[in-house]
């Protein structure tokens, strides 16, 4: 799998209402980019555009993948809601993509993915028999089952309690390595922990945030988060 670098430039509106103005951003290949911003700055809209879920959005601009291949078929979006089908077991949910395409389900692969996300033995559980964190793990396994090189995360951890969130973040970091990941979040700490690169999205546009070298490595994350929080607040003011 060759994960592409991608870029987006342009403006978007929904039903005549301005969502974001002329902005330009690029996301490096096979790296995590955190897209940090307050609510209402159009982060989710941007992610939906990258995912090809552009229905209802009027977008003027360009979305490019640097290797010149079509982008949308190589993307998969993971949202805050786990979107598990309540009538299907965990393993059926992981294999839902194949089932919806009419392909033979790859049960061995699905089992391995469920084990990878730490839910080995719970394959036959229904979503109602799983905790919120476990459900989001199943959603991660479903995302991995599609094996796409570009993974778009729309605040997938924000509904989890802090401990579970931390575990899910680490798990995702490990399992999504080598893919181009764009993580939309409004949490500076999450942006700093997970992003190889951090972009700040405000009403004025998107700008990359350079973390100063003076931030020492041990306390890098919390210092960076504090700095990002200041930037976020001043951008909102």
């Amino acid at each position: 799998m060759r994960a592409p670098a991608i870029s987006i430039a342009g403006s978007a509106s929904i039903g005549g209402e301005h969502i974001f103005g002329q902005l330009a951003a690029s996301f490096p290949a096979a790296r995590w980019t955190s897209l940090l911003g307050a609510s209402g700055t159009g982060k989710s809209t941007l992610l939906r555009l990258l995912a090809g879920l552009s229905e209802g959005i009027s977008f003027e601009g360009r979305i490019t993948s640097y290797d010149g291949q079509p982008l949308v078929p190589r993307t998969i979006l993971m949202q805050q809601a786990d979107l598990l089908l309540p009538w299907a077991s965990a393993i059926e949910n992981v294999m839902i993509g194949a089932a919806l395409r009419g392909e033979l389900p790859q049960e061995a692969t699905a089992r391995k993915l469920i084990a990878d996300v730490g839910l080995g033995g719970l394959e036959r559980r229904k979503p109602t028999e799983l905790s919120g964190g476990q459900r989001q793990r199943v959603a991660l396994a479903r995302t991995l089952a599609e094996d796409k090189s570009v993974v778009l995360l729309d605040e997938p951890f924000s509904a989890l309690d802090p401990g579970t969130r931390r575990q899910m973040q680490d798990l995702s970091l490990r399992l999504l390595r080598g893919r181009t990941v764009v993580l939309v979040t409004h949490d500076p700490l999450e942006a700093a922990r997970l992003g190889d690169r951090i972009m700040l999205m405000t009403g004025a546009g998107i700008e990359p945030v350079d973390l100063p070298d003076s931030i020492s490595s041990e306390s890098r994350t919390s210092d960076a988060a504090a700095m990002l929080m200041r930037r976020l607040v001043s951008a909102g003011a």
Partner: protein, 247 residues
């Protein structure tokens, strides 16, 4: 359980009020027989009542099964294909503008005095609630699941089968609950217009012969049939929704 207890209590209160009214105002039995008189008639004429109730019940069940099949098929076709939708939606709405009971004499003219004119009458009444509620559910699939389907390049037919239909089952269930209560009305109207059997026929027959207690007995049996039907539908819907729980 508590619901059925409350229902029984309400029924008991109603029976007491009925008997008190009859006794207090000395209402003659050919105007309004008391609950004891009606119970007596049910006991004495249970074979007659049972036979006619069976006829009406078979009419109702047939209409419900057929309306269920046609209604779900219509709803799925409408949700799946735009041409079907633009063709069917106006017809469905128009059909609701016609008082369907007014069609009963025409149905009897076309289908005769037998079984099918009653079945079709009931079917026409319950077809709309089943179709429209299921269609409503099918067109309100949660957006996230539609996104998911788009992202994994789902085949439209498989998306329908595996996500849109299961997600619309709660809506179908509310349509079926309505249908179970409306279907008996259709069957009885059909029998009033022209029949030689069934509870509706028995009521008119008893009325014509001034057997008011028998008329009330038939009414009580019809009520029991309707309640039983409702309870059975509720059980069916619950087991369906247990298997396919709403999100």
């Amino acid at each position: 359980m508590r619901g059925s207890l409350k229902g029984l209590a309400a029924g008991g209160v109603l029976l007491i009020v009925w008997q008190v009214l009859v006794s207090a105002f000395a209402i003659p039995p050919f105007i309004l027989p008391g609950p004891f008189a009606v119970a007596g008639t049910i006991g004495a004429d249970w074979q007659l009542l049972g036979w006619h109730a069976m006829v009406t019940l078979v009419e109702i069940l047939t209409s419900l099964v057929l309306a269920g099949l046609f209604g779900t098929a219509t709803a799925i076709a409408m949700a799946a294909w735009q041409p079907v939708r633009s063709l069917t939606l106006p017809v469905l709405l128009l059909s609701q503008a016609i008082p369907i009971f007014a069609l009963a004499p025409i149905l009897t003219l076309w289908l005769g005095y037998g079984f099918w004119s009653k079945v079709v009458m009931a079917l026409l009444i319950v077809y709309f609630p089943i179709t429209s509620s299921f269609y409503d559910g099918l067109t309100h699939t949660p957006r996230g699941w539609l996104d998911l389907g788009r992202q994994v390049q789902a085949k439209p037919a498989l998306l329908m089968l595996r996500i849109r239909i299961p997600a619309a089952l709660p809506s179908l269930a509310s349509g079926l609950r309505l249908a179970a209560v409306y279907a008996p009305i259709g069957a009885v109207i059909g029998e009033w217009v022209g029949a030689s059997q069934g509870l509706g026929y028995l009521m008119l027959f008893a009325n014509g012969r001034a057997k008011i207690d028998l008329m009330f007995a038939a009414l009580v049996v019809l009520l029991a049939v309707t309640l039983a039907l409702r309870a059975a539908t509720e059980l069916l819907c619950r087991s369906l929704l247990k298997r396919y729980p709403p999100a």
